[in-house]
């Protein structure tokens, strides 16, 4: 019996060793909330996370152009496995399950979540007060910018302004007014806090806030506010048009950071570490010989419709952004035929490696602000000299002749002219869908291209997977 007692006592000793401390989870390569949110460095790292989610990623051009130009008169895609995703977009038969919708939706809400974390956590960090205020303002801009993008694709969406989210949250969609008021307030507020220029190119400025506010008013046909906000931006005198060479050289790598750019998704000077833009690998035709090999040429082919090229006049410098013919690997000259022209707006990056390049993706340029004010003023007053001057600024930069106000008998005729100028100026930058919608031509032009487009196609559907997960979320009409 004593033996049994001995045994049991040994067992109980063993048991004592095993307090619940033994089951504590020790982290090594990741941080827990207790050892973060403390220093100025933590605050910057948090803000960087908002930038990362809001700005560049490798397929940004592919995704933006698919959504915003393949639905228009500019772009088509042939070949490659991605045709499974691009063809239904071009054909206006996108399903609610299309992966790009879910991709955009998820990406924007990740950025919004991180912005909310930054906005809530950074004020509690003991650090330089001015920088702290600015960090919060940068995060607030980025949050509003992501809502701007969501609103453009999907209409009013759930407005989440706290980082205290839970698995069980089933938010409702906000109203159009709530959405617009929120963005208006946010852009206006941060415009007062943010500086007009930042030491580091890529950071948000107050002109970016005013710029997106302009675009928000414009797209919402708030002409007076659009014109006024554009003027406020112009008056700051921070930005001007790129006129130091051929208009297409604005997109040369050497001119990245030119003050015509108001807000971009910046890519690194040295994309070899893996962060870069894959545009050119989609646009290069088969057997194209790159100047700085080795570069990857995808099976997928982004092609410009010939009817779009036809709107350019011969002396337009911006025609230089297109590839019409090339010498292939076997030394033969290949002339790209009908609907097979390529947009080489983003010039080849010598440091680019494989399929990625350091070319920045422009979200907003000064030329857009000028043409936006021109358009808003025309809507308010009809053809007017200031609108013509603003348009001529852009035309002259592109090596074209100035136009005169007498050429435009009506507000509509000038409006159409502005729309065409915008097409030539902003192709391959993903603005065409927005512009056509604003000019009430998105659906009618699609129908004239033979697509089964209907009014409800002005908005994309809320991703089906999101509807499946949240019964409070109402799908857009028609889907």
């Amino acid at each position: 019996m004593t033996q049994i007692i001995k045994t049991l006592s040994i067992l109980s000793i063993m048991t004592l060793i095993s307090c619940s401390d033994a089951l504590e989870e020790e982290t090594f390569s990741v941080l827990g909330p207790t050892n973060f949110y403390n220093s100025a460095e933590d605050a910057e790292a948090l803000l960087n996370g908002v930038y990362t989610a809001s700005q560049g990623y490798r397929d940004i051009s592919r995704d933006y152009l698919t959504i915003n130009e393949m639905t228009t008169d500019i772009l088509i895609e042939r070949g490659g496995g991605i045709n499974a995703n691009t063809q239904p977009i071009e054909d206006f038969i996108w399903p609610t399950t299309h992966p790009y919708f879910d991709f955009f939706w998820g990406r924007y809400y990740v950025a919004i979540y991180r912005a909310n974390v930054t906005i809530e956590q950074v004020p509690n960090i003991d650090m330089d007060e001015e920088r702290r205020t600015q960090i919060v303002a940068e995060a607030r801009f980025l949050r509003a910018f992501n809502y701007f993008q969501l609103y453009d694709l999907f209409g009013p969406v759930p407005l989440i302004v706290t980082s205290q989210t839970a698995v069980t949250d089933r938010p409702f969609r906000s109203t159009k007014e709530e959405m617009l008021t929120f963005m208006e307030n946010e852009f206006n507020t941060v415009a007062d806090i943010l500086p007009a220029t930042q030491e580091q190119f890529g950071r948000v400025t107050n002109t970016a806030a005013l710029g997106f506010l302009t675009k928000m008013y414009l797209n919402n046909r708030d002409w007076q506010l659009a014109a006024d906000t554009a003027q406020e931006l112009i008056s700051l005198g921070v930005h001007d048009l790129f006129t130091e060479g051929n208009r297409t050289d604005l997109f040369a790598l050497a001119n990245e950071g030119d003050n015509e750019f108001i807000f971009v998704a910046p890519f690194p000077d040295n994309p070899a570490t893996g962060l870069g833009n894959t545009y050119l690998s989609h646009a290069a035709p088969p057997g194209y010989q790159f100047e700085f090999p080795p570069k990857v040429n995808f099976a997928a082919q982004f092609k410009i419709l010939s009817s779009f090229i036809d709107i350019f006049s011969e002396e337009d410098e911006r025609l230089d952004a297109f590839l019409f013919e090339y010498t292939n690997g076997e030394g033969n000259l290949v002339v790209l035929g009908e609907d097979d022209t390529r947009s080489f707006k983003y010039q080849e990056d010598p440091n680019g490696i494989g399929d990625i390049s350091g070319n920045d993706w422009p979200y907003l340029r000064y030329a857009d602000i000028l043409l936006s004010r021109a358009e808003a003023l025309n809507e308010l007053q009809g053809p007017n000299q200031e609108s013509i001057d603003l348009i001529n600024d852009v035309r002259l930069a592109a090596g074209l002749m100035a136009v005169s106000v007498v050429e435009f008998p009506s507000s509509d005729s000038l409006n159409d002219f502005i729309l065409e100028e915008r097409a030539k100026e902003f192709h391959t930058e993903g603005l065409r869908r927005q512009d056509l919608i604003r000019h009430d031509k998105f659906i009618s032009e699609a129908i004239s291209r033979g697509k089964p487009a209907q009014d409800f196609n002005l908005l994309f559907p809320i991703p089906q997977s999101e509807i499946d997960k949240n019964q409070n979320l109402m799908q857009n009409d028609g889907y």
Binding site: I4, L11, E25, N48, P99, R114, A272, L275, A299, E466
Partner: protein, 1016 residues
């Protein structure tokens, strides 16, 4: 008496029937035997002497006559069996020896001296009936087993080339489904014991090697294994609590036996070739086909007639990368022991070349098992150390990332292997690498050093009571070197890139158990075990990469020579722990009624702060019907036991830190063209995260008839897994796409049937082992979610669905309803934009258009029915073993075929069935015109195929040379084996024996082996 008579008749009838059916088989075996044995041995001359018969009776120790005992004349094919009264009559030949064989009894030999009636008493063969079966934390006699346990011992292992222990149990155990996603040398397996209960958490079983719960993977030599026990029901697995839900595989390695030193050397050499190739277009066919597609699409032809006339066969890219490969295995073991110490030492070297150029797997290892036992204590050590090398080529699927298999299937056959300068040629048109260039210039070499083992000390305080400490450790360090030379397209992009990834893992186990074993008042037997266990698991990794090298000569040996701006570096570390209390009581009453109660309390670091502990009880009851008086006289039943169990087991295979809020690095922000690291929360916290629980009911019947000449078992099980650890898709408005939650239920149920028969006993033996299993898998609850889509591959976002009422990850796509033949058919269809020759899809919701809502379930990867059949024939020293295996009712998504149906580029090569495409002149109803790609409907019933198959997995012919009068060699055997010699299947891919989705999988090979086994 009447009943007895009926059984008697039935018994005779059964055997006569079996005998007559056997005759044909016998003839075949006989023919094979002729080459080895002289004809007289097989067909002995009939004695010319006048025959006199000797008679006798065979009884057991209790005096009960034994029916069906084989009575044979030693050295001859002559024999008889005893009748129902145990009586026999056979020709008397003085000087000859009669041999009495009876299953469950010791064989007895009697030399005939005079013709007097014989009375033979056969002794029960204890070792056969009371085979010991290893269970968790102990072992029991097979007859006392209350749970569902399948035991596969060394004698059942197939003999061909086997790199893994999973090779040797594949098809051998009912309810255990083993598939190999890639047949590459050393390729991994997927093991599903009684289906799959988890969606997000792991479905692989727990492995326990000599008491150490760790997956040995490739680091164990199948030749060192004595037996493998597969624990299936909750009664057997609940003792492993939180890790028991997917079943447990117990591996017991060999021990030395008392006696003189035994030295064994075994070796085999195998040659392997690809078992099946896909029929691709050759150069001329390809050029014509591409031209036809182009011209039919109103585009100009790509190849001129002159070019085509010069192409001929073109390049067969498979010929470039496939070859005949060898496998060599050597094993030396030394074992033996004194009356209180035994030892087993072994060395093994296994070297397999893959059938694809520059792939291979090598293992060099050693094992030491030493045990010592004295009156009061036992101790011992088991140690296994190995070096495993795995050499691979790239295996990717898409475009620039496509590996050797993909490119060999899709590369333009009109492209020569080398260009005019003798360099690897490169396609200017297709975004793919030269397959041969990849195989020859991209090297991926993984080396893993691993040592695991345990040491134990057991002390007996009393006869009934002992305590044991078991300490175990498993540590491995691995390093993978990858070099992509600048010769290939993917290497050009980086101008040569090198990567080194090193990993280190270690696990410590401390276990303390107390064992109590007693028989109280004769009728009550008790065996109890109580214990405590602590195990931790640690991982650490480090990786570095470099590219843009001045030369390819350095490989991975000089990372610093690359471009400093392109250096990459990473490291990580993680740890988790398990702390457990366990116990089990086996109680037996009168050797008729058995009960087993077991429990385990498991604490895991992986769960929420207040949810770390889980409780896993089980109860099993068994009734040995044969030991009841009402069956005592039913002689044809030799054993009969009814078992039933219910218990709860758990699953914690979810990775670490899932319940916590974590902040991690999330990519770089870019300012002024420079990159800046960011940090953000990477998951939502879930303090309520807890165990996934599986409740399992098992009902089993073990039976043995005719002195166990026929024995087996039938099992029914139903497993319900609830509180599923599910990466629950959550509204992305939360900032996260999913969160690990305990949501959902899955059910698996099935029948398992095992039958082992000794059809013939004597000089000629024939035994059969058959196992059959059915399986039904069903998701029964997904919370508020209607469905979860998954299976994204090759730009196609989804190919599988999880929804209530269907099996996990069922294939989800469009049903093909035929080929449009006329414009009229098109006009009257739901696809008005189609052309004649296009695929017609089923408008399954009848809304007049074909869209994503028309997708339906096209099948699932779970088999309805799977089986293995082993037949062993032996005549004296010659034996023939045939092992068939099959699966019915499992579908496979043949993703490889999508690259033929809907290629990424027109200029990719395709399988040659496209030649039979629809054209106005060839109105095919089977294949479309292939003029249009329809990527968005690429997942359809043309690529979800029936994966049923029947395969001769292994056939072995061996000859034993026994009791050699040689000074050194005791006995040796020589054998030839063929593996995968034929497969009957409708599946059009390489191999149906893969789990679920088949995308450019490594092809299966046919393997021919010659082996020798020598005992010194």
């Amino acid at each position: 008496m009447k009943a007895h008579y009926k059984f008697h008749v039935l018994y005779k009838a059964v055997f006569l029937d079996i005998k007559s059916k056997l005759l044909a088989v016998l003839c075949c075996v006989g023919c094979i035997s002729v080459t080895f044995a002289s004809p007289t041995e097989i067909f002995p001359k009939i004695s010319q002497e006048v025959q006199q018969n000797i008679t006798g009776v065979v009884k057991d120790k209790a005096g009960t006559p034994l029916a069906g005992v084989n009575v044979l004349v030693k050295g001859e094919m002559k024999g008889t069996t005893t009748d129902f009264d145990g009586k026999f009559s056979i020709a008397f030949q003085a000087g000859k020896t009669l041999v009495f064989y009876y299953i469950g009894f010791s064989t007895k030999e009697v030399e005939l001296t005079e013709n007097k009636p014989l009375t033979i008493v056969l002794e029960n063969d204890i070792s056969q009936l009371d085979e010991i079966v290893v269970i968790g934390y102990g072992s029991v006699k097979k007859s006392d087993l209350t749970g569902a346990v399948t035991s596969v011992s060394e004698k059942d292992f197939p003999k061909g080339a086997q790199s893994s222990l999973l090779n040797v149990i594949q098809g051998k155990a009912a309810g255990v489904q083993i598939t190999q996603q890639s047949a590459s040398p050393g390729g991994g397996f997927s093991v599903r014991i009684r289906g799959a209960g988890s969606i997000t958490a792991g479905n692989e079983p727990l492995y326990v090697i000599d008491g150490l719960p760790r997956d040995p993977s490739n680091a164990i030599n199948p030749g060192d294994i004595e037996s493998i026990e597969i624990l299936k029901d909750a009664s057997a697995t609940a003792i492993y609590g939180s890790r028991g839900a997917n079943g447990v595989v117990l591996i017991t390695t060999k021990k030395g036996k008392e006696g003189k030193v035994k030295i064994n050397y075994s070796t085999y050499y195998s040659v392997q070739n690809v078992a099946k190739r896909l029929d691709l277009l050759n150069g001329t066919e390809y050029a014509n086909f591409i031209n036809d597609i182009s011209t039919d699409n109103n585009q100009s032809a790509i190849f001129t007639q002159e070019e085509i006339s010069q192409i001929g066969e073109g390049t067969d890219w498979w010929d470039q990368v496939l070859g005949t490969a060898s496998v060599i295995n050597h094993q030396v073991s030394v074992s033996g022991g004194s009356n209180n110490t035994n030892y087993y030492l072994s060395l093994n070297h296994f070297d397999e070349e893959g059938i694809i150029l520059n792939t291979g797997f090598q293992r060099t290892m050693a094992r030491v098992n030493i045990n010592h036992e004295s009156k009061n204590y036992k101790f011992g050590i088991n140690l296994n150390t190995s070096l495993v090398q795995d050499q691979d080529v790239p295996y990717g699927d898409i475009n620039a990332a496509a590996g050797v298999i993909t490119t060999a299937l899709q590369m333009d056959p009109t492209l020569p292997v080398f260009d005019e300068n003798g360099d690897y040629s490169e396609s200017m048109i297709i975004d793919l690498d030269n397959p041969l260039a990849q195989a020859e210039t991209i090297s991926i070499l993984a080396r893993t050093n691993r040592t695991f083992g345990n040491a134990y000390f057991e002390y007996s305080f009393l006869d009934e009571l002992s305590a044991k400490i078991n300490l175990a450790n498993d540590r491995s360090t691995g390093r993978t070197d990858t070099y992509i030379s600048s010769v290939t397209k993917r290497g050009q992009a980086s101008n040569g890139s090198a990567g080194i990834a090193s990993s280190e893992s270690w696990s410590n186990l401390l276990e303390f158990t107390v064992n109590y074993n007693d028989i109280i008042a004769e009728d009550h037997s008790i065996n109890a075990v109580l214990g405590y266990s602590y195990q931790d698991f640690n991982n650490r990794g480090f990786g570095a990469g470099s590219s843009n090298f001045p030369t390819d000569a350095f490989l991975t040996n000089n990372l610093g020579a690359g471009d400093q701006e392109r250096f990459t570096v990473s490291s990580e570390r993680s740890k988790n722990q398990l702390l457990s209390y366990l116990g089990r009581v086996n109680y037996g009453f009168k050797d008729k009624y058995l009960a087993t109660f077991s429990f385990r309390i498991d604490g895991s670091s992986r769960f929420g702060i207040d949810e770390k502990y889980g409780y896993f009880p089980s109860l099993a009851l068994a009734w040995k019907l044969k030991n009841e008086s009402f069956l005592a006289n039913v002689d044809f039943i030799s054993s009969l036991k009814l078992r039933s169990s219910y218990g709860i087991t758990g699953n914690q295979e979810i990775g670490n830190y899932n319940s916590l809020v974590l902040l991690g690095t999330t990519g770089d922000a870019v300012f002024n063209g420079q990159q800046f690291e960011s940090i953000a929360p990477s998951q939502l916290e879930n303090p309520d995260l807890k165990w996934e629980r599986t409740g399992q009911l098992n009902i089993g019947l073990d039976f043995g008839f005719f002195n166990d000449r026929i024995n087996g078992s039938i099992e029914y099980y139903k497993k319900k897994t609830s509180d599923l650890l599910l990466a629950l898709p959550i509204p992305e408005t939360s900032g996260f796409g999913s969160s690990l939650q305990n949501i959902g239920d899955v059910e698996n149920s099935g029948l398992e049937f095992l039958l082992e028969t000794k059809n013939f006993i004597g000089d000629f033996n024939w035994s059969t082992s058959l196992n059959l299993s059915t399986l039904k898998n069903e998701v029964t609850n997904l919370g508020e979610l209607p469905l979860i889509l998954g299976g994204s591959l090759r730009f196609l976002p989804e190919s599988t669905i999880i929804r209530v009422g269907d099996p996990i990850n069922s294939f989800y796509g469009y049903n093909v309803d035929g080929i449009f033949q006329t414009q009229d058919e098109v006009n009257n269809s739901a696809q008005p934009d189609a052309n004649p020759g296009d695929i017609r899809y089923t408008d399954s919701n009848g809304d007049g258009i074909i869209n994503v809502d028309d997708r339906v379930i096209l099948g699932d990867g779970f088999p309805d029915f799977f089986f293995g059949i082993t037949n062993t024939f032996s005549y004296k020293n010659l034996s023939l073993n045939l092992f068939f295996q099959g699966v019915l009712g499992a579908e496979r998504l043949n993703y490889t075929r999508i690259d033929t149906e809907n290629p990424i580029e027109l200029r990719r090569n395709r399988q040659s069935y496209v030649l039979d495409r629809w054209t106005p002149e060839n109105p095919s109803t089977e294949h479309p015109s292939f003029l249009t790609n329809d990527f968005s409907r690429a997942i359809n019933s043309r690529v979800v195929e029936d994966g049923s198959y029947f395969r001769l997995r292994e056939i072995t012919l061996s000859y034993n040379f026994q009791h050699l009068n040689n000074k050194f060699i005791n006995d040796f055997s020589i054998y030839v084996t063929g593996q995968n010699l034929f497969t009957i299947t409708d599946y059009t891919g390489f191999n149906p024996d893969i789990g679920g989705t088949d995308y450019n999988s490594y092809p299966l090979s046919k393997i021919y082996t010659l082996g020798v086994n020598i005992n010194f």
